[in-house]
Symmetry: C2
DNA sequence: GTAACGATGTATCGGCGCGATACATCGCGA
DNA sequence: TCGCGATGTATCGCGCCGATACATCGTTAC
């Protein structure tokens, strides 16, 4: 899961660990909190021994005179290898049930620009199915067991149901978008993904701050 | 984190592992997927050696004649101890920054019926602050770095922003509710917390089944 | 009658990822 | 010049997950 994300970022440009973490935080911010160093560095090592990435010099310290008091070690820049790129493509195309899980789905989605349309559709549909099941679970609990649960637990269920419902709609718009050929240009940065304007008022253009009105429907 | 959840459930009634997992899944369904046995059983053992819970008999197998072919082991019913109840209260009142994290917040919230109003407010406000920061992060990325990100990453940010915004509003309603004294009755099941008039058509009566009383004992 | 199957039930194992922690350098303002 | 926050690499313990194994029970199918 981290493998895919790291390979993806290094695919764009070489980087050192710290920078990698920052980029991951913004790119995957909507999905996972912030990748920990306790995961990052071991993963980097694993990727390196597997041959997917290599250290790209940059330990300048021109003078060898400087006695390495405490094993002096500058910033280590990693870059992806040819095998790494293959591995990345493999991981991207791997559409198992794992790819529908919250975190994994987010990572896959974040690299959709590099993914084929059919793969994109399969992932989006799988994810939708999963969230739909989740949503039905909430509905059943609310319908069947409402009397046996306290008010706060019920409120939690309602919030969950609402969130799931909203994500399903979001996914449906994305799927429709993909199907109708109007996919954003795979590489282009200025592409407008924005589904049709008459969605719910959810994904509003950032220029306009979300208004106070919240009439969900 | 699991400790709190397990103690909370066992506080309501004794239970065995399997049942515990099911109840956790519905009670915390909106928060975590489904607690794994690989977490549950070790945690139960830990809680037991700590003295918070005990095994409450129920390994009937009346006859000692039956040779335990493969270390025959019936269902193990756990119950909370007096120390466990204290521990539960301690954990409930512990309002550190951890309590604002996604999963931990959900668990705390699920047991709000057993929590004092001031603690409830502190947790809700802490959570709100956290989600607000998250939301601002999305806004900044969308405003500042929109050109450098591809369409899908942007879409992910928008969706994240929307979800965060929505949760903040949800929290604000809950906070207002708590402040205005109109808290749902701590134990009552029929209390109306419902913030918005209708989220979706969630709590519909659909095929009303006659209450299948599944309490085998 | 019995075979198959899914739900119930307990348990372990490998491994991923987190949070805390340690340590070092660098630029900047007090 | 002193501290402090940002930059930067790294390890350790452990919580939790997913896969797996195994046993029992009730119901359905043949």
């Amino acid at each position: 899961m981290l493998d895919l994300a790291i390979l993806g970022l290094l695919h764009e440009s070489p980087m050192h660990g710290y920078e990698l973490r920052k980029q991951l935080s913004t790119k995957l911010g909507a999905i996972r909190a912030a990748i920990s160093y306790g995961s990052l560095y071991p993963t980097l090592r694993r990727l390196q021994t597997a041959g997917w990435i290599t250290e790209a010099g940059e330990t300048p310290a021109g003078d060898a005179d400087v006695p390495p008091l405490t094993s002096r070690r500058g910033r280590v820049v990693y870059k992806i290898t040819a095998e790494g790129k293959e591995r990345f493509q493999d991981l991207l195309a791997q559409v198992g049930p794992e790819a529908y899980e919250d975190a994994a789905f987010g990572v896959h989605f974040a690299f959709f620009s590099r993914t084929d349309v059919d793969i994109r559709l399969r992932i989006l549909e799988g994810r939708r199915r999963k969230v739909e099941e989740r949503r039905e679970g909430f509905r059943e609990v609310l319908a069947r067991a409402a009397e046996r649960l306290d008010a706060y637990t019920l409120e939690l269920q309602r919030h969950g149901l609402d969130a799931a419902d909203r994500e399903v709609r979001w996914l449906e718009e994305l799927i429709a978008n993909e199907r109708s050929g109007r996919t954003p240009q795979p590489r282009g940065a200025e592409g407008e993904l924005r589904p049709s304007p008459r969605t719910t008022d959810s994904a509003r253009p950032l220029t306009a701050r979300p208004g106070p009105d919240d009439s969900a429907q």
